[in-house]
Symmetry: none
Subunit: 268 residues, 2 copies
């Protein structure tokens, strides 16, 4: 899935949080995480003591195209070093720790980081733990807050790339005003669609022309009977056709449909 939007392109890299993978075990997972970052315009990858060493060919391969992120990744020995230059650090975790820290969802985390990043001197990062064991308490303790995604408690585990995907998605959504998201009412989306089809919405006059054409033929066919029911039947037909938000081109098509159904059989 993708958006139509320039929104992605418009988006400056500056200020986006760094993704920090703590002791990732498999190169593949670093690569797919990088790929998820690229999906949502997150450019800065930091690695803390990747288990299988660095650089890692499998990471480049799994990034399938996002290798520019993998190759620009910076490697650190400890989490402390990896977050040293950052002002706000959030830690993704699968469970509440008994620590007094704010708990964010990916969505509220994106808002919090965005608010803090309004100050150009502020830099942010997000910690993601080891595939199996996640982040240790000492590592979480370094963070200003915790990010927990709403997930079915019976099936809470997300893989590394999926965790990065959800956090990146909410960040990107916020910075592309939700793209096709919350600010786009369904109707507007529909209308927008209308205009992309190189035509315009039908005028009421054109619509009524279609209605009367159909009704004329249906009277001809004795369909709109008995007379006392005619007004309601006409109303229902007009309601149906109105709901379709027909374009001017579509009105002409439908009139062609009616004419052809009738004409054919008049000939025959």
């Amino acid at each position: 899935m993708a958006q139509n939007g320039q929104a992605g392109a418009e988006r400056p890299q500056t200020g986006a949080p760094a993704v920090i993978l703590v002791e990732p075990q498999l190169g593949e997972n670093v690569g797919t995480a990088a790929r998820a970052m690229a999906n949502f315009s997150l450019g800065e990858l930091r690695l803390v003591a990747p288990r299988d060493g660095w650089p890692n060919e499998r990471a480049v391969k799994a990034a399938s195209g996002a290798d520019f992120i993998v190759e620009a990744a910076r490697v650190f020995d400890t989490v402390e070093e990896a977050v040293a230059d950052l002002n706000i650090v959030l830690a993704t975790t699968a469970r509440r720790r008994d620590m007094i820290k704010p708990v964010y969802s990916p969505e509220t985390a994106a808002r919090e980081m965005t608010a803090r990043l309004a100050d150009p001197d502020v830099r942010a990062g997000i910690l993601f733990g080891r595939e199996r064991t996640g982040l240790g308490n000492d590592e979480v303790a370094l963070a200003d807050g915790i990010i927990m995604a709403p997930v079915n408690t019976a099936f809470a585990s997300l893989n590394l790339a999926q965790a990065v995907l959800l956090v990146g998605y909410e960040w990107f959504k916020l910075h592309t005003d939700g793209a096709l998201g919350r600010e786009t009412p369904v109707e507007a989306a529909g209308r927008e669609g209308l205009y992309t089809a190189h035509t315009r919405a039908a005028t009421k006059e054109e619509l009524i022309g279609l209605f009367e054409h159909l009704e004329r033929e249906l009277d001809e066919a004795n369909f709109l009977r008995p007379p006392e029911k005619r007004p309601a039947m006409v109303r229902n037909l007009r309601n149906m056709l109105s709901r379709a938000n027909l374009t001017e081109q579509e009105v002409r098509t439908l009139r062609g449909v009616i004419a052809s159904l009738v004409r054919n059989h008049e000939r025959g």
Copy 2:
């Protein structure tokens, strides 16, 4: 990452949209998609002509724990059959098609489906295309709307499980977050209004019956020509009629309209 929440548990399965994978190529991807469904409490998986056949051991393996979803999956030969019993179908797609349909984000799609599903007789499903080529235009034409995720246009491609993950995430978020849940889009309220008239939304099977009835008569009338233009003409007609969100009663009325236009002139 996981939520603290009973919210997930509270959530009834009923009404959740079915996930429909159209000609998935690799069993692994069916399994990881099922896993993503489990993360967000989506239980119903439908498969259209899985390339490597079914059942598929690799799908079960890749589901790592979500095999109950894989094993309950229903397999269909065609998309038409897979959506026959559904009232609202949304199609995930990577690009805007030259079709006139509402375009949703995963977030607005969750709201739209939730509003429509307020009617207990309404059932929803989401189409996901083939790993490489996505959904064909004729498949998208069967849908009531399109879902496009806000993604960096330079890196738009999401794998199957990730696409399911984002759609499932927004669905789950809406249904485990009172604040979001309370907002009901105006447009959706209008739609609900449709079904208060002692009738229900048409099923796709009923709609397809109407489409085929009309197309039969138009072939009869030599309207759908030249042959090379027929597919596009059919698609446009189906899109127009789909947009009207017809009720079952309205579908019967329109079939009566077609029959009467034809019959009358056959008599004459």
